[in-house]
């Protein structure tokens, strides 16, 4: 079982990110479960969503409390919400930011994780350039593929195309591709802290 928790703010597509990830997992033959921690929260409020990927049927329906990976769509949440709570010692962290992990003030924390398991990705900038709107999902999910090696980029692309038809889908795919390429160019495996923007 591989469990991902996604933190963001209402309107950023937190729930959609979990759904896309589950579709990508399904594309690769996994059993996948995406569940929102849905509330009547409005735009801008902290939101969390979960995605599980597994080799066999997923029966438990509890929220993910010890994730294998955490995606943080909005770095301003770092000091508001316990985003790393329960993160497994070998877990992954992906943060949507054009700043570095040290600049975000979490360098020390991510140093405890295995090498290459934490990264920042300027996903919003990528989205603005490719999609024209600050929707960081596609890039972040590609980034997750890159740092975890759990899913193939093609599956993420297929999920994006299933959820977003036509031009919007293609633009998101372009953002995802660039994000993946950024990680391919950076020596993730070498440094403890991948920083895609450094490329």
């Amino acid at each position: 079982m591989f469990e991902v928790r996604i933190h963001g703010r209402g309107g950023q597509g937190v729930v959609t990110a979990a759904e896309l990830l589950s579709i990508a997992g399904f594309e690769e033959g996994f059993w996948a479960q995406a569940i929102p921690s849905f509330g009547s929260e409005r735009m801008g409020a902290p939101v969390v969503a979960f995605c599980r990927l597994n080799e066999c049927e997923i029966r438990s329906r509890e929220p993910i409390t010890s994730p294998d990976a955490v995606i943080i769509q909005d770095p301003t949440l770092l000091h508001q919400v316990k985003v790393f709570e329960g993160l497994s010692p070998g877990g992954y962290v992906l943060i949507n930011s054009s700043r570095s992990l040290d600049q975000l003030g979490i360098g020390e924390f991510v140093d405890k994780l295995p090498r290459g398991h934490a990264a920042c990705l300027p996903a919003t900038e990528l989205a603005l350039r490719h999609v024209g709107r600050p929707v960081p999902n596609a890039a972040l999910l590609a980034g997750l593929c890159a740092i975890t090696g759990r899913l193939k980029p093609a599956s993420i692309e297929a999920a994006i195309r299933r959820k977003f038809k036509g031009e919007v889908g293609e633009k998101n795919v372009a953002a995802a591709r660039e994000a993946f390429a950024m990680f391919a160019n950076v020596e993730v495996k070498e440094g403890a802290r991948a920083h895609a923007q450094a490329v």
Binding site: F38, R59, R61
Partner: protein, 417 residues
């Protein structure tokens, strides 16, 4: 076709395949995506020959469904929580008239305090309305139960509620096999009403009945539900034959044959229960689970067989019958031939409180150790309650208790974990 999609979307598509003729739509979280999905199917023409009516309340939703069903159309609506209470009078009316309306309930708690998250208080509040109530364990079963519900309801002339856990199922993306139109058509014939409002053969429907016959009329409603106890497994068997899936039926047992301890639950919590059962079986504990799919009619005989040999039964209940404890355990005692069987009622998951494997395991262990109270509340923060009781003892105007408890907890709002 096997798909990864949202539960509500899957259910909307399944209902579309059942060729409903009148759909009444009124938004209430968390069922809204279902009627939205159906609206898109009707508007796009994918679901033809269907009237999609945006009503002004849940009471109107059920009332329009009553008119449509009585006039011979296959009628559907969906609701949740306050919505089912707002339509309660019409829910009973549809039950009393024996109109085979199918309604999805995206199970959600009932206020006050207002709370949009999942529990079973809404369906339980209408358990005696003369409707069949089926609870889905996962989204595949939610899809399948809707298809069975139309067939079941129309054969018996009874309305059917398909209950699926709000958010946990309605908003969950998971793998679902959506059947083909041909498969559904083979299973579900067109609606042939037993009574119909028709100018060519005018009858009076819904007139007053006095004390001389009311008891018999009500008994007939009961007898029809007892007939459903036979029909539900028959339809589940036929469904399996045609669709290749085990879905529905009265109850489903999981590793319960030799179990000394059996955990009983309704709906999606059974998935989590099964995982805990496996964990504890690995530790050598003879524990099993029984999932109740049909809560009305209540499968007394089937449960009696399934639970007969257990020494202790633990019900995980997502509704609180205030002042007594559990609805499920209360009903379940009717099914226990051996009155010495200990029944533990565990109220859990109210208002969307997560039911975790760890907490379940802890509570099962304490039952095994004989330490569990007859009625207990999973993960209840008792000190907080006690402090509030103490405040109320010391002071008259303590204000809204719900606010005081949250101030005491000093937590962020609920959507934040």
């Amino acid at each position: 076709m096997l798909r990864q999609c949202e539960g509500s979307q899957a259910v909307a598509e399944a209902i579309g395949l059942c060729r409903p003729q009148v759909i009444c739509a009124y938004p209430i979280t968390p069922q809204t995506h279902i009627v939205e999905g159906l609206g898109a199917l009707v508007k796009s023409g994918a679901l033809a020959n269907c009237e999609y009516i945006n009503v002004e309340s849940e009471f109107a939703a059920m009332s329009v469904a009553i008119g449509a069903s009585a006039a011979g159309a296959r009628a559907y609506t969906a609701t949740a929580s306050q919505g089912i209470l707002y339509m309660a009078e019409a829910v009973y009316n549809a039950g009393g008239l024996g109109l085979p309306i199918v309604m999805t309930v995206g199970n959600r708690s009932i206020g006050a305090p207002i709370n949009i998250w999942n529990d079973h208080t809404d369906s339980m509040a209408l358990r005696d309305a003369g409707w069949i109530q089926l609870f889905a364990e996962d989204n595949q079963e939610a899809v399948d139960l809707h298809i069975q519900a139309f067939r079941l309801g129309e054969e018996l002339s009874l309305p059917v509620m398909v209950c699926m856990d709000g958010f946990i199922l309605t908003h969950a993306y998971e793998r679902v096999d959506i059947p083909t139109q041909e498969q559904v058509d083979q299973f579900l014939p067109p609606y042939e009403p037993r009574q119909v409002v028709d100018p060519d053969n005018p009858v009076t429907i819904g007139a007053m009945v006095g004390p001389e016959a009311f008891m018999e009329v009500r008994y007939l409603a009961h007898a029809k539900q007892l007939r459903a106890l036979e029909l539900i497994p028959e339809l589940a068997a036929e469904f399996k034959q045609k669709f290749g899936r085990d879905s529905g039926g009265l109850i489903r047992s999981y590793r319960a044959d030799d179990a000394e301890t059996i955990v009983v639950g309704l709906g999606s919590v059974n998935g989590t229960i099964k995982d805990v059962v496996d964990e504890m079986r690995n530790e050598g504990i003879k524990i099993g689970g029984v999932s109740i799919c049909s809560f009305r009619p209540f499968p007394t005989a089937a449960l009696s067989t399934a639970l007969g040999r257990a020494q202790r039964i633990i019900t995980i209940e997502k509704s609180l019958s205030v002042g007594i404890g559990g609805n499920v355990s209360h009903n379940l005692r009717m099914a226990l031939p051996d009155r010495n069987t200990t029944v533990y009622t565990v109220i859990a998951g109210l208002g969307g409180r997560p039911i975790t494997r760890a907490s379940l395991k802890k509570v099962f262990r304490s039952a095994l150790d004989g330490l569990l109270e007859p009625v207990s509340f999973l993960d209840l923060n008792l000190p907080v309650v006690q402090r509030q009781l103490e405040r109320e003892r010391l002071e008259r105007r303590t204000g809204p208790a719900a606010e005081a408890i949250l101030r005491d907890l000093n937590t962020l709002p609920a959507a934040v974990h």
